[in-house]
Symmetry: C2
Subunit: 334 residues, 2 copies
């Protein structure tokens, strides 16, 4: 926690963040230069970092507890996508000067509440971090650490011709939720609007499913940039072609309702981001094992296509089995 204090850094850490580190002996109550944690023989450590900027990755009036939880969860999703089990994280907050006064106290309290509730939900604990002030917008950066048995990490590079392509949960809810929050999809019922908005604001990282797929999945990632863009990442790193069938895509009732009102929404579903579902490949011989792992984790998994030999890329087949043409290849901010 040393290095770059601002006026109330020490108080801020003691009041809001140190309680979040209480269960980690090696965090030393956030009073030391660094945190220490155990190495377990036969294991590897997995580390990932994601940052979020107000007005770019979340809306400036999003509730502080949701900002905290979303930033933590997108990182937990990355850990799950390696097949690892998360255990701790470090946190950087850059707070605008407007949050220096009493408004900042209230903001930090709700922010810490969000972290506390997700620490309990996901079994992770704060290990350390830094809290700085900025003349710019609020920014939160989190680094999550996880454990995995040696050699078991599932990368993006292991997909082989003949492998099946699977997707957890439902697709497109995050992208449609952002539209709702921006005033779009006004024809949907309030219930569907709220469902979609919630899916954008609060991802469900598949921490139960990811570790159950080690030894089964040949390649895996979490869908953060859109199904087509992310599947392209697997195809490129694995040097294979991927073919998915649009009729196999798992959609929520709210997404179906949105498509019924406007067919062009299909494209947002295929290329929109922020779903944080697990996209993975596995040999056909392991299909039953994948289904069993999904059942154990209590997460629905759909088989949506197949890996082919050929030039790296993604083909989406329409209802007639014909390749579709997409204008956007992935999710891009702004």
């Amino acid at each position: 926690m040393s290095g770059t204090p601002s006026l109330n850094e020490f108080d801020r850490i003691a009041r809001y963040f140190a309680p979040l580190a209480r269960s980690a002996k090696g965090a030393f109550g956030l009073t030391d230069d660094a945190a220490v944690f155990d190495c377990v023989a036969g294991e590897e450590i997995v580390v990932t970092t994601d940052a979020m900027v107000s007005g770019v990755h979340f809306l400036p009036d999003d509730p502080p507890d949701l900002v905290a939880r979303k930033t933590l969860r997108v990182n937990l999703s990355d850990i799950a996508a390696m097949g690892a089990v998360p255990f701790g994280y470090t946190l950087v907050t850059a707070l605008p000067r407007a949050l220096g006064g009493p408004a900042g106290e209230a903001w930090l309290e709700r922010f810490a509440d969000g972290l506390r509730s997700d620490q309990e939900a996901f079994g992770v604990t704060l290990l350390g971090g830094d809290s700085v002030s900025t003349p710019g917008p609020l920014m939160v950066s989190i680094t999550v650490l996880g454990r995995i048995p040696k050699g078991q990490a599932v990368t993006r590079g292991g997909a082989r011709a003949g492998d099946l392509i699977f997707l957890s949960g439902t697709l497109g809810d995050g992208a449609l939720g952002l539209r709702v929050l921006q005033g779009g999809l006004a024809g949907l019922s309030r219930e569907h609007q709220e469902f979609l908005a919630d899916r954008y604001r609060l991802p469900r990282p598949r921490v139960g499913l990811g570790p159950r797929l080690t030894g089964l999945a040949s390649a895996m990632l979490d869908v953060s940039d859109g199904l087509v863009g992310d599947l392209k990442h697997i195809a490129e790193v694995s040097s294979v072609a991927a073919e998915i069938r649009i009729d196999r895509l798992p959609l929520s009732a709210a997404a179906w309702a949105a498509i019924e009102q406007d067919k062009s929404v299909v494209e947002a579903v295929l290329t929109g981001g922020d779903d944080y579902e697990l996209l993975f490949t596995a040999p056909p011989s392991r299909r039953e094992d994948v289904i069993a792992a999904a059942a154990e984790a209590g997460v629905p998994v759909a088989e949506i296509g197949r890996i082919q030999a050929g030039k790296p890329g993604v083909t989406v087949l329409d209802l007639a089995g014909e390749p579709m043409t997409l204008t956007a290849a992935g999710y891009v901010h702004f």
Copy 2:
């Protein structure tokens, strides 16, 4: 690296950052969700995070390579202050939109050059990270990971009455360097000015000395908030009193010259930040071992005072052996 791409995130990562991760097999060329590294039986992992904001922690016109190296080095200093050996780091860059075009390319190239040169100097490698855009000022956040034999981490809480207080290198150069860069200390020679400015811009983390002090030092930290403020941290966490003698403080020739011109500079030396020297305590029986460790590391170490039983706090004795009164207790930004 997933989660929050901006327009050119993938290109940016491939061009500037992936080469920095080449030597880490578990970084997967920065194409995956997370990085993986080995656990070694009998070791612990040490983790620390520090962030720097343009205009707050460095000057907006500081050269990009120095911004990179300073952010990395303040983190390396925290790892050294635990007695650990750093091996890898994750990096978050939040780039203002002005750096989106060709100016950004040049900036990133020099920034990556700085990281490359310090990776070689300190034996660390990039493991992963995130690159986002921001409407605010440039911000860089680094999380460094290190290794240490189990149970050997040196915390702030182990100082005992009777222990000697040691400080590596020289004191106050960082704070005086900031004054020079802000147009102060105009009476100094150009050589002294440049020495001090360089010490502010580019800390020398004591990565060689820190690990040699495990088993010797009873408490340790790196001086980032000022000698008095940081010694107070040790005193408070260890529940002891600390007494230092002003005639024992190790000063550079440039700092002596500054004091000769203006006696009030002494206070900046005592309470200014950004030195990143190791401040530690050890029992008198280990004095010779400390001197030997310092000689091995090639780093000067001065004995500057003694730990006493009593109310936690810091006393600075002047040349006559009388307690001095200080107006500032530590280094505060803005």
